[in-house]
């Protein structure tokens, strides 16, 4: 056995985008053990939602849980609140929610991929990926009025309609985006240098993914075909607009890249179907009811399963709101997947996890 060294990484580190702390125990550059701490960004959002804000205002508060998957949080909360006040939202609102969620997935996945490229030492690809991501940011701004923090899903429906000219603009821009995405897939899949860095790095098996209850692209890259969009047809009609699950088998950084890129092709197809088949109806279902009882909702955020639990007591203020973010489910596997890897691979591996500590610690 060689001499062991403990190397801390984070909470502030050049290759960590999130305030996350790892302590790696290494032996001859190989990681033999890892511990993690996530305690740097607890903001008391759940408590604020159950004390300072009325239940209709909470969708705006939870939209601030995360900058990247703001729409997932406000939609999941709106869905759980709609269960508590027992309303069904209009069909057009369901379609518009899916539209923004899928555009958001494009912007989130491309951000993750760009950082994997950057942390693998491929800065030109980082620039290119970020450049192509701009399309989704501009479309989100055109639809929601903001590039992030959309405040689009509200209790009962959505806050804005899609103007026909904006819908047409999204379709036109998608045509330009498709060859860009194909170019990215080609580079991430076939570039020799990137493959050397990413193939085999940070791998987990399908059995490990099951055992550690991994979610999102992290799980699907290991061959576990779980996606909440496949399971929540009652809340949003995902299959109707062309949802298909994407999986890979290797479970490593490379497989996570490919899963994310291939999911963007599915997202593009769904966006086209949503805009072309957008139903005519109201945008919101009005109700004067107060939340009563308890309900849970799951939604596939860009990083995986987002879980909301809410309990109402027939007043304006919720009794309890619980948020479980996808990264929270993946912490155990994140720690596990480092083992046996070179210390030098950790930046790319961490980026491929796509961790979000703002969501996790709330």
């Amino acid at each position: 056995m060689g001499k062991q060294y403990e190397i801390p990484m984070g909470a502030q580190h050049v290759s960590l985008l999130e305030p996350l702390h790892f302590k790696f125990t290494t032996e001859n550059e190989k990681i033999v053990d890892t511990t993690a701490n996530v305690y740097y960004v607890h903001r008391g959002i759940e408590q604020a939602c159950c004390s300072k804000f009325k239940f209709r205002q909470v969708s705006f508060v939870v939209g601030r849980v995360c900058g990247l998957c703001s729409i997932s949080h406000s939609t999941a909360y709106s869905q759980v609140a709609e269960k508590l006040v027992k309303i069904e939202i209009p069909r057009r609102a369901k379609y518009l929610r899916m539209l923004v969620i899928e555009l958001d997935r494009i912007h989130s996945h491309l951000l993750c991929l760009s950082h994997v490229a950057e942390n693998s030492g491929f800065e030109a690809l980082f620039m290119k990926t970020m450049q192509y991501r701009e399309f989704s940011m501009e479309m989100l701004e055109a639809i929601c009025g903001n590039r992030i923090q959309y405040d689009f899903s509200i209790v009962g429906g959505v806050s804005r309609d899609l103007k026909p000219q904006v819908g047409q603009m999204v379709l036109d821009r998608l045509k330009n985006f498709k060859p860009q995405l194909e170019e990215l897939l080609d580079i991430y899949q076939n570039n020799w240098t990137l493959s050397l860095k990413n193939k085999g790095a940070g791998a987990i098996t399908r059995e490990d993914a099951l055992r550690l209850n991994v979610v999102g692209p992290f799980a699907r890259a290991a061959g576990l075909d779980i996606d909440v969009r496949n399971e929540t047809e009652d809340l949003l009609p995902w299959k109707e607009v062309g949802f298909e699950i994407v999986t890979e088998k290797a479970g490593d950084v490379h497989a996570r890249n490919i899963v994310r890129l291939n999911e963007l092709f599915v997202s593009m197809r769904m966006i086209e179907n949503i805009i072309n088949g957008l139903p005519e109806s109201d945008l919101i279902t009005e109700t004067k009811a107060f939340p009563d009882g308890e309900a849970v909702v799951r939604l596939e955020a860009p990083r995986g399963e987002l879980f909301y639990y809410a309990k109402g007591n027939k007043t304006q203020i919720l009794e309890r709101l619980k948020i479980k973010a996808p990264t929270f489910s993946n912490v155990s596997a994140m720690v596990e997947a480092f083992k046996g890897n070179e210390y030098g691979s950790t930046p790319a591996i961490i980026a491929s996890y796509d961790p979000c500590l703002s969501c996790t610690s709330r």
């Binding site: 305690y39 607890h42 408590q47 055992r211 209850n213 009652d234 879980f307 479980k324 929270f328 489910s329």
Partner: protein, 113 residues
């Protein structure tokens, strides 16, 4: 959501009998402060029957020590560590200081008396 009411003595056995890693997905442990008591909820969903969510629920006194389920569900340590910090409850073999810094005031999600 399917609620299974259980007791603190029985909950671990119930989860052990229920949970099969290739059939069930462990989601999270939640706690609701009811005032005098705290309700603990262990959430699972079913891979085979999408959308079916099962919650094992039990009410405890705040000082009760809750059994850890990490020998059944390995990844549950994260949810257990979070509950210890945010709800200031006791879970066996679980230390404070994972979600909140060790010197932070414990139990920010508990109701103020």
């Amino acid at each position: 959501m399917k609620r299974i009411e259980t007791s603190i003595d029985q909950v671990k056995n119930d989860i052990r009998n229920f949970y099969k890693p290739d059939l069930h997905h462990f989601m999270v442990i939640n706690a609701v402060d009811l005032g005098e008591k705290i309700e603990i909820q262990w959430f699972f969903c079913d891979y085979a029957y999408p959308g079916e969510i099962t919650a094992f629920c039990t009410q405890i006194q705040p000082e009760t020590v809750i059994p850890s389920i990490r020998d059944i569900v390995e990844s549950a340590w994260v949810a257990e560590a979070e509950l210890v910090d945010l709800m200031n409850i006791n879970i066996e073999n679980t230390a404070k200081g994972f979600v909140l810094e060790p010197d932070f005031e414990s139990g920010p999600l508990r109701k103020k008396k």
